[in-house]
């Protein structure tokens, strides 16, 4: 009985086969790049780039933080894209090293905060910059949406992990966009109010996305 029903199923599936266009990670990368650059360009156009960037310069510290976060974002986005094409034995963990390297920021910020390198008035002057964090999280939505749509149409075999990684990529993308807008060169500020978009978005991705990624 079961054999007959599987035979029927196979006949049915074969008869409705249509040519498919294989999904390519490169094409997904294009969506992510559009989500990243598009939102970045839009926000820079709306709010204007940080003052020194307009002049073609950026402080070394801000530049270093920018590229560190960007590298984590690229690694996470690449991992998320690869998660859409399943295969036992495939390694999707490339993002872990880049995100691990990102821990350099809070570590360095702690030394700066408690050491002499940090002007105690800097944090007080800048205050509670939660709008930078909010802007970072919102700015990452382009990349987050691109990755979500890609994975939704693909076959992620671990929706929970995919949720985390999409969140990390989106948060990192948002943090790099904020770095182009916010003029602060203070490492404590960058860590607290820019880079924290990464864990914030990661948790949001983990909590919100897995149920929509199941198939």
């Amino acid at each position: 009985m079961k054999d007959a029903s599987i035979d029927d199923l196979i006949d049915g599936l074969a008869s409705e086969l249509k040519p498919v266009r294989p999904r390519r990670v490169v094409r997904g990368s294009l969506w992510v790049a559009i989500g990243w650059l598009g939102v970045g360009a839009l926000l820079v156009g709306l709010f204007g780039a940080r003052h020194d960037l307009a002049a073609g310069t950026m402080s070394p510290l801000s530049m270093l933080a920018f590229w560190l976060i960007a590298a984590a974002g690229v690694a996470a986005a690449w991992s998320a894209l690869r998660m859409g094409l399943p295969g036992v034995g495939r390694d999707y963990g490339g993002w872990r090293c880049a995100v691990g390297a990102l821990l350099a920021l809070p570590l360095a910020a702690l030394f700066v905060f408690f050491g002499d390198a940090h002007g105690p008035d800097e944090t007080a002057r800048r205050g509670f910059d939660i709008h930078c964090l909010a802007q970072g999280v919102v700015s990452g939505l382009g990349v987050g949406a691109a990755l979500f749509l890609w994975l939704k149409a693909s076959a992620p075999t671990s929706p929970t992990r995919a949720g985390w990684v999409i969140g990390i990529a989106a948060g990192a993308a948002g943090a790099t966009i904020v770095a182009l807008l916010c003029s602060s060169d203070d490492l404590v500020h960058i860590t607290l109010w820019h880079a924290s978009a990464v864990p914030f978005s990661a948790v949001a991705g983990r909590l919100i996305l897995p149920r929509f990624l199941r198939w």
Binding site: I10, L13, L17, R23, L85, G87, V88, G89, T157
Partner: protein, 173 residues
């Protein structure tokens, strides 16, 4: 007839181009492979259902196979996903079969990564023992309690937690 990777990859590539005859042959071979795959992992009366579910998932996700990569790991990933889904649906009454069906040597690497014996070694000993006794060997809770020296409630807790962790481990393998 043995199911070899290069032939399956060729059939899959033709299927992606819309070749129905190749696809029918691919589904037939995949069905045989999946039956053996699930026979080592679940109770016999669940095998046909899971094979059907996996074939339907395979059909829906045909575009996610990358022709530069092997076919069987792709099929195994989809099968594993459906297996986890079943574990989740039936967490409390999941029945993990222990049929030692023969497996072709070319499939061994894929199977070994996900063998239930291997996964059980990754669980705490108490949970592994409770699952082995209750879900694989078919002992009652009382019998498992006597054999293992764990209280009955601890056996139940260990089975529940062990199955939950097992699903997480399968995902991460």
């Amino acid at each position: 007839m043995s199911i070899d990777e290069p032939s399956l990859a060729r059939l899959m590539a033709a299927s992606q181009r819309g070749d129905r005859a190749a696809y029918r042959a691919l589904l037939g071979d995949s069905r045989k492979w999946l039956t053996r795959y699930f026979a080592r992992r679940i109770a016999p009366h669940h095998i046909d259902d899971l094979v059907q579910e996996t074939l339907v998932s395979m059909h829906r996700k045909l575009a996610t196979w990358d022709s530069s990569r092997a076919f069987l790991p792709w099929l195994a990933a989809i099968a594993r996903y459906r297996w986890i889904d079943m574990l989740r649906r039936q967490r409390d009454e999941a029945e993990l079969g222990d049929n030692d069906a023969a497996v072709g040597a070319e499939d061994e690497a894929v199977h070994a990564k996900l063998s239930i014996d291997h996964l059980l070694t990754l669980l705490p000993p108490g949970q592994a023992q409770a699952i082995t006794l209750v879900k694989i060997e078919g002992a009652s809770i009382a019998e498992a309690s006597q054999i293992s020296g764990q209280s009955e409630s601890l056996v139940k807790v260990n089975v529940h937690r062990g199955l939950k962790k097992l699903a997480e481990l399968i995902e991460s393998e």
